[in-house]
Amino acid sequence: MWLGKKDKCNTHYPMSKDIKIKKGLDIRLKGEADKTLSNAPRSRTFAIRPSDFHLITPKVVLKEGEKLQAGDPVFYSRENKDLKFVSPVSGTLTAIERGAKRVIERIVIEADQQDAFKEFGKIDLSTADAETIKSRFLEAGCWPFIKQRPYDVIADAETKPKAIFVSGYASAPLAADYDFTLKGKEAELQAAVTALSKLTDGDVHVSIGSSGTSSFDTLKDITLHKVSGPHPSGNVGTQIGKINPVNKGETVWTVSAQDLVIIGELLLTGKFNAERIIALAGSSVKNPKYYRTKIGAEVSTFVYDSGLDEDNVRVISGNVLTGEKISPKGHLGYYDNMVTVIPEGDDYEFFGWNKPVFDKISPSRALTFSWLFPKKKYELDTNTNGEHRAFVLTGNYENVFPLDIYPLQILKACMVQDLDEMEALGMYEVAPEDFALTEFICVSKQPHQQIIRNGLDQMIKEIG
């Protein structure tokens, strides 16, 4: 665990910056994925959850029982017909599961033994223009990988971003190591960043860890930055804040590093190959390691391959700070490159609020002793360690929040829905994940990420 006070930003030469973060917190957990790669058994079903795509209302183009190929559209956005969401595998659409108010919760595809791919055709990047690339991304299901700030939603294809950001460094707890998962994918990454560089007048900024060998090291058409420091140094939001923060009226796009591989493969081969190397991690996993699988696969295919230590667990698609809770029979999220399994914490603890604590992480020293063991790895469960309260403490969020924004003040502005204040305090620059650490250390157990998400949604609705 690592806590600091001030941040520095050293400019070595005009284009590239070294980013050093001091404010933050590395949450060290047990169950880090071992750097061995296995092929996950072929999943019987695949599922797409429309809730992965915030604010997208799906319009399904197929009926239950229809066949589709990998890359065939499953649904498009009701607001933008061109924005297609495609099937990761070939198979049969078996179920459209709806929840309250007939909102589609999951679209389930029963997979064939072998994938048949829809052919989109290769794109010659030396000649292709922005429009060609855009329309290919839209029709072939790669556009959803491009997100935008402000608002942290799928990018609006009509805008031209001032820059595009990719984080090639993961600092979240137990996160999949990009140096490992992207090894040997240089050709795909190069194609993807070259294509992206044509969509912006600015740069494609890629940040990598200051140590280790990254597949991005040798790529062209990018501006490379080296980041160091505790989490959230690997969050793309932190990097945007240090390199080129978003101002009112401006847009930047962000793409996850693992999605560049899928984008690159589409450009090079003309196929939408949803293959992804994911980390299976967490203290409840017997043999945490890396698996080769596909977007939307049943997580049980690899979770039970690796084995679990206990029954009462929470399975998370994503990391422990920002991931989505899924059932053990659930499916890998569209944007996730890891699955974390940790113990549920649905038990009482006798005098848990005042006895000395050695087995949990704490930013304070209030009879909590994690500060004594900065390298120790912890087995945290999902207990909130206290009840929801009004905001009381001040000054503690700032220690783990590297952006030049007042975290408590912007949260309160969101809670009282003061749009002017939200805008003035920097709402265009933030995404919910930027508030994961302040949420983690919050003594009042306030749902920071939810508060920020609601605030952003309100801005979209009222400012647009």
Partner: protein, 402 residues
């Protein structure tokens, strides 16, 4: 079926009922609840509000125990010819059973009344408004007995606590929403509602009120009271630092308050910025007054002379200054909430404390009013600090468009 299971069954039974908050408040004292994360981060840090408040209470306990000994000592010193002035920190004249017993039976009712009445009001509001009982009063309830005079009638304390909790906190929406420090609201209510009782030279030593006017009358005067009347104080600096002086129950021992401050800073619960800047503010004002005296603008006939001529750093160890700076000014809800703002807020508290102390000889305890005043201005200070950040953001756009 263990206790854990029984309580769990009860909790489920009362879920959603009117009395649920009251039951849960007691239940969560025994057991950290079984609540799990539902949105956002799936894991959370170990600290909750109870633990935080508990840490502050731990920092206050030494002051409370010292206050009990001191209450007895101050009385015995004047009534019992056997007792002589305590010499040194571990003096047997101070730390003895007879002192403790007197003090214990005087202070314990204050603690019971403070917690009993205050928590009753909190529970009542929680049940009426249907929210959980918040922990804010745990600290307030401990602060109150420490900042009142030893001989305060209990009924007065009851009235003040009810006023303080209802008007000072609940009408604003409870813990976290209040503008004024609740403990100081209670103290200020006592001061303005019962001024003849709360000021003057009687109530600060147990027995002084009852014996007033009689031949065996004992003095209950504090150092600040003497200074305000330009009298000699008759206590050594060491006495003042260690706390062998009359005053409110828990405020006298600067040494223990200093240890409490270090504990709060070390545990990262108390704001060192506020504590340090408050001290700096007080020293600055003290130096200014010392300068006024040495420049000869004021002579010993002035009614302000006694306090103005007090050596600047002595202000830190007399009266309630140290206690206020460490335990009251740092209340995170009512203080400035930005780190820069905390420096300004603290400095002004120190500065104004000494200002009031010197210019208001009728009630020379300035720290209470200074903190309440700055509580009111804290949001304004924060506003300007945050505006700095907002302006920086605006400038970024201008650079772009220019």
């Amino acid at each position: 079926m263990g206790l854990k299971q029984k309580l769990h069954t009860l909790k489920e039974k009362y879920r959603g009922k009117k009395m649920a908050p009251a039951f849960n408040a007691l239940h969560t004292f025994l057991y950290l609840p079984n609540e799990t994360t539902h949105s956002g981060s799936h894991v959370r840090a170990a600290d909750d509000l109870k633990r935080t408040m508990n840490t502050v209470i731990m920092a206050l306990i030494p002051c409370l125990i010292f206050g009990m000994f001191n209450a007895g000592y101050q009385t015995n010193l004047q009534t019992d010819p056997e007792i002589t002035q305590a010499m040194g920190l571990f003096s047997g004249e101070f730390w003895n059973w007879s002192n403790f017993v007197i003090g214990f039976w005087k202070v314990l009712p204050l603690v019971i009344v403070s917690y009993g009445v205050g928590l009753a009001v909190e529970f009542l509001f929680a049940v009426i408004k249907g929210h959980e009982v918040e922990e804010g009063y745990l600290v307030t309830g401990m602060l109150v007995p420490l900042i009142v005079p030893i001989d305060i009638p209990l009924w007065m304390l009851v009235v003040a606590v009810i006023f303080g909790v209802v008007i000072g906190k609940e009408v604003f929406g409870g813990t976290g929403m209040n503008i004024l420090n609740p403990a100081l609201t209670i103290r200020a209510f006592l001061f303005f509602a019962y001024p003849t009782w709360m000021s003057g030279d009687k109530v600060w030593v147990h027995g002084a009120v009852e014996t007033a006017g009689k031949p065996d009358a004992i003095s209950g005067e504090t150092i600040l009271g003497s200074l305000a009347q330009n009298n000699e104080i008759g206590y050594s600096v060491m006495d003042m630092f260690l706390g062998f002086i009359p005053g409110s129950v828990g405020e006298t021992s600067t040494l223990l308050i200093l240890l409490g401050a270090l504990f709060l800073i070390y545990t990262k619960i108390g704001s060192w910025r506020i504590m340090l800047s408050t001290v700096l503010g007080a020293l600055a004002m003290g130096l200014i007054f010392n300068g006024v005296v040495s420049a000869g603008w004021i002579d010993s006939s002035s009614k302000f002379f006694g306090l103005m001529n007090t050596e600047f750093w002595h202000h830190l160890i007399i009266g309630g200054f140290a206690f206020g700076a460490v335990y009251m000014a740092t209340d995170p809800v009512t203080a400035s909430q930005t780190n820069k703002g905390k420096w300004i807020y603290g400095f002004l508290i120190g500065f104004i404390s000494i200002l009031i102390r010197v210019f208001n000889p009728a009630y020379p305890e300035g720290v209470m009013l200074a903190i309440l005043l700055m509580n009111v201005f804290a949001p304004t200070i924060d506003h300007y600090v945050v505006q700095g950040n907002v302006k920086k953001r605006m400038k970024r756009i201008k650079v772009k468009t220019a």
